[in-house]
Symmetry: C2
Subunit: 501 residues, 2 copies
């Protein structure tokens, strides 16, 4: 077998594993969107079985042999093929460390736990969820131990979502950010001008919101012949392939932001998924590179486009037309200020651009403590509320608005939260680079032209898949390593004028 044959065989196998894995994603999507509750037990079995089959395929010893064969060739291959091989190696080495039983057990437990979490959240009943988190933390510790590595157990989990990231590297970056954010937040909270966020908490007809948000997603480039929007407790985006990308959101009849900005956010993820190279399905260069990079795309479209003054020059008159009774007396500047209101709040996904990262830091620290064994699941509500006071000077009145708000832990996604902050920083840095490259984006947005920006992102980010490591991708696209400068500059330039600083 030649190295080229071995590469082709690896690609065939990877495609098969990805086909199965994407089938499991359809089942997970259905579980969140439409499955009746009584279906949960079988769904858990189905997902466990599929996870096991995928894992079998990804850990087949034959893959190790094929990789060795391809790696032995010094022929300078196509750089994308070389990146495929590099990533297949990394994934294989990671996957073979995980016992099949653990993989299946995690799929089964998290499938059931998500249903329990949804009920617990509705009833604000942490005790109901705690035993599930107990199980999940135990399984994730087992996973971390199986994977090993030099750093703390937590890093083994983090690495799954953000290859190359470590808690040792994140901690100072987050500390630096916090040191800048806290005084910035203080300046805003004591500023001379104040927004009127009650504008957004009036009656917004849900059916009209659906059309309005869909229209916006369509205009920024989300292709509905290759995707759709449904409604779930917790918004998410899942791409089965670039040709079938599912967004979800939730609409509140009395809060505009909930639905609209969830759609903009998830559509940002969806644009990335739709921009991947469909012809490379199953190959790493056809897959999203990391969650942090994924989040650069969602936050860029949600905040840097969707909360910009330029965007609303076009969309505010449309909003007034869609919600005439609600918005006829409101002026565009007040609306724009309201959607950019900064205030400590309970719910991460509704948090403003300034406080959002403080929510993330809280979770990052709590997860490290859970995995490190310093915090027990039963102690989470207390610890949560203490940290909320420390970072945001408020504590939630119940666990529904506190430690039960996020789906992640019930889904086994421990080590995922820090990628949100990486995404926020990366989004600002990419957006600044796009502005340098493309010139006047404000004018384009006001005219409904989002295509130049989308094409720049396709070119710089989407089309590459995993060709470059996340840090390298950001460096290539922006000319600098990832840091908080562009993010802080972006906050300054938006919020200083709004708040009259």
């Amino acid at each position: 077998m030649t190295p080229a044959d071995a590469y082709a065989e690896l690609a065939r196998r990877a495609k098969e594993a990805q086909t199965l894995s994407s089938a499991a994603s359809v089942l997970s999507w259905d579980q969140e969107t439409y499955m009746p509750e009584a279906g949960a037990e079988l769904r858990g079995e189905q997902l466990a079985l599929l996870a096991g089959l995928v894992h079998q395929r990804r850990t087949d010893a034959k893959i190790g042999e094929l990789l060795t064969l391809v790696e032995s060739s010094s022929a300078a291959a196509d750089p994308r093929a070389a990146a495929d091989v590099r990533e297949w190696r990394r994934l294989y080495d990671r996957a073979v460390k995980l016992p099949q039983r653990l993989v299946e057990e995690l799929a089964r437990v998290t499938s059931l736990a998500q249903v329990e979490w949804a009920d617990a959240r509705r009833e604000s009943d942490w005790k109901r969820f705690a035993p599930w988190l107990e199980k999940i933390v135990a399984l994730k510790k087992e996973e971390a131990q199986a994977i090993g590595g030099d750093g703390p157990a937590y890093d083994a989990l983090l690495d799954e979502f953000e290859p190359g990231a470590t808690s040792a590297a994140l901690a100072p970056m987050f500390a630096d950010l916090r040191a800048k954010l806290v005084p910035f937040l203080h300046r805003l909270l004591t500023a001379p001008r104040r927004p009127d966020p009650t504008i957004l908490r009036r009656r917004y007809d849900v059916e009209t919101q659906r059309h309005f948000a869909r229209h916006a997603a369509e205009e920024i480039g989300f292709d509905f012949t290759r995707g759709r929007i449904d409604e779930t407790t917790h918004p998410f985006c899942t791409g089965f392939s670039p040709n079938d990308v599912r967004l979800t959101t939730r609409y509140s009849p009395e809060f505009f932001n909930d639905g609209f900005f969830s759609v903009m956010h998830e559509a940002g993820h969806g644009l990335y998924e739709q921009g991947l190279d469909a012809s490379r399905f199953g190959k790493p260069t056809g897959e999203a590179v990391s969650l942090g990079i994924h989040e650069t795309q969602s936050r860029l479209w949600e905040n840097l486009v969707g909360r910009s003054a330029a965007f609303w020059r076009r969309w505010f008159p449309r909003a007034q037309e869609a919600f005439p009774r609600t918005l006829s007396e409101v002026n565009a500047d007040d609306f724009h200020f309201a959607i950019n209101a900064v205030a400590p709040s309970f719910i991460r996904v509704d948090a403003d651009e300034v406080t959002y990262n403080l929510h993330v830091m809280l979770r990052f620290e709590m997860e490290q403590a859970l995995i490190g064994g310093d915090l027990k699941p039963a102690e989470v509500p207390g610890a949560w509320n203490v940290k909320m006071r420390e970072y945001l000077q408020i504590a939630p009145p119940d666990d529904r608005r506190g430690c039960l708000q996020d789906v992640h832990w019930s889904a086994g996604l421990i080590g995922y939260f820090p990628t949100y902050t990486l995404g926020n920083l990366g989004a600002a840095q990419l957006f600044a680079a796009a502005r340098s490259a493309l010139g006047d984006l404000d004018g384009a947005f006001s005219a409904g032209e989002y295509r130049p920006l989308l094409e720049w992102l396709r070119e710089q980010v989407h089309q590459h898949g995993m060709r470059y490591k996340p840090a390298e991708l950001i460096h290539n696209a922006t000319g600098r390593p990832l840091n908080a400068d562009a993010f802080m500059a972006s906050l300054e330039s938006k919020f200083a004028p709004l708040y009259g600083l």
Copy 2:
């Protein structure tokens, strides 16, 4: 290994295969309900892969060994376990005859063909669909040949849907029925009284229809904590397990029957699925016994309950309340007569109880000719229209309302149609037996009490799964072999007074 161990191992393997197969059913359901069109290609790959994995599991030589082991034991097992073994043997012997490649190819081709069919139907473009039918007929012939048997190739396909049925046995039964139906239809069409079906072709608000039909499905006993209703081009019911049963329907804003009676029909299927023994998931005694028996349940609830005068004594006032402008001037008797109007029509699923079986016979004969090689896919539209004139004295103005109306062929379901007529006859026979056993059902229906009937069906039909062969099940429940007598008697007793005969 003891025979008991072998049985347990067979059950474990069957459960795994069924878990995978039910995962594929979720994907098929999504394909029909929510999948964006561009997702079709990957969906075909996913379904082909899963079909292959299921087939591998069902044809594993180890199953043959385990079956031989269990069969060697003369110990009088639990009769349900004995039935499981009998059916596993039948399914295994059938499955091992089908090459893996053929199974995967059928899954792939039919997944794509269903999307093509939906487009072809919309555009009434038979030429677009014909090449797909060509492929499917070739694959189904190959399947029939692989399975073999003494009868014509068609019987090998029929047997998959209705174990034990043969075209030689069905043909005279159908001929007898046709000999009775045609004069009966003539009597109605020349009767002194005539219904006013335009009552049903007024404006019926779709959102109100949704609530109305859902309420009816709920009241007859469909459990929405274990199921749901969505909307598709072609209504269907699919049960992933008794705890997750999905119905679909379609609503027409200007035709009441389309939505309402599709829901009653599919809910009948759904009640059967929900009534299977969930603790026997994967075992034949936990699965529906045949499509003919499945159809007895759907037709019973749709026609014998849902089109009865007693049902509408309760539901017509509700209909007037739901659609006040449409129905305020209509009286209950006229409405009941209208929903039972008999007239030759183009669309099978909208056909009345009298003409419905003529639609089935046409398809039955056409399928035999396609598989027998006497009819080419390109010739279907012509042959269809000729037969429509012969049986129903009308011919459709386009193929959308003719040979493109049904999803079955695009899904590879050749040999399926005759089970509809078996279902119609069986429904009437079961319903007559239920009336004998339970006494006054009309009084119960008028009072909204459907539980006694449902419980009788649970007892006589649902709980058994495949414990008895279809013919035996009907005989046990009704005291007689299946025949057309109860069906004709039911038509006579409903339609003679309505039509003033």
